[in-house]
Symmetry: C2
Subunit: 120 residues, 2 copies
DNA sequence: GCCTTAAACAACCAATAGGTTGATAAAGCA
DNA sequence: TGCTTTATCAACCTATTGGTTGTTTAAGGC
């Protein structure tokens, strides 16, 4: 019953476990940006920022498009939702003191359009 | 304006970036358990599981209590909420296509009782 | 064509994460 | 007291992260 998106959860949570990457997410929530723009506020090299973006991209939290020699990075909100969906399973179970897990998952799926899957 | 809970977010997201630790969270959502009980379904040593629990404890996602020679581990749902709060900031901003960030944070704070803080 | 800019690729390095085995501590039970 | 159970501590090994510098590719501007 376990799905193969374990690695995607791994990658997504790992991607957010770094303040630089979280600030990149924060910046991208206000619109797309290039690597140079994203690197500017940090005291690390652009190569390092580029690697951070690769990590975010691998987790599918961001996507890169091509615009001439620019390569703007865009946020992918759908993946962020997948994370809250995972967390909320357990959070809601505790809050509701054992009202059915199925009910919780189904209400979440209905609200967000996300597939209700088996937790890992 | 930046708060010092950056490390707590680091620790919490890192803690969830591992399938073993996510399964431990899943198990604990059904009630407290000892290290031995938690280790049973895994093909790794108890020492390794103990280390995983240390990681979760450092992130304040779980707490340990003392009960004779047992040391039951309990879930701490409040910390899970802090993670969804962080993610939802940016998720909601995108969905609302730039309705005020302040409004979003305040509505979240009102709904969950969480303090509306400056994102890192 | 040549130069500049944007960004990726490659090799390398130090620090840490996840795992192991072995020893130790603390609490109950005989 | 001595034995068993529960769980941690300590040392060690290997793979991976996060960072660096240096080189290369790709697209425009002149």
């Amino acid at each position: 019953m376990d799905t193969g998106d374990d690695e995607l959860l791994d990658a997504a949570f790992l991607a957010l476990a770094d303040p630089v990457r979280r600030r990149i997410i924060s910046r991208l929530s206000r619109g797309p940006a290039t690597v140079n723009e994203l690197a500017e506020p940090f005291a690390i090299t652009k190569q390092a920022v580029s690697k951070h973006i690769q990590v975010l991209e691998q987790a599918q939290l961001v996507t890169r498009t091509r615009d001439a020699q620019r390569r703007p990075v865009h946020l992918n909100p759908a993946r962020l939702e997948a994370l809250t969906a995972w967390i909320d399973q357990y959070r809601l179970v505790r809050e509701g003191q054992f009202r059915s897990l199925d009910a919780v998952l189904q209400s979440r799926a209905a609200a967000s359009g996300t597939q209700a899957k088996d937790p890992s």
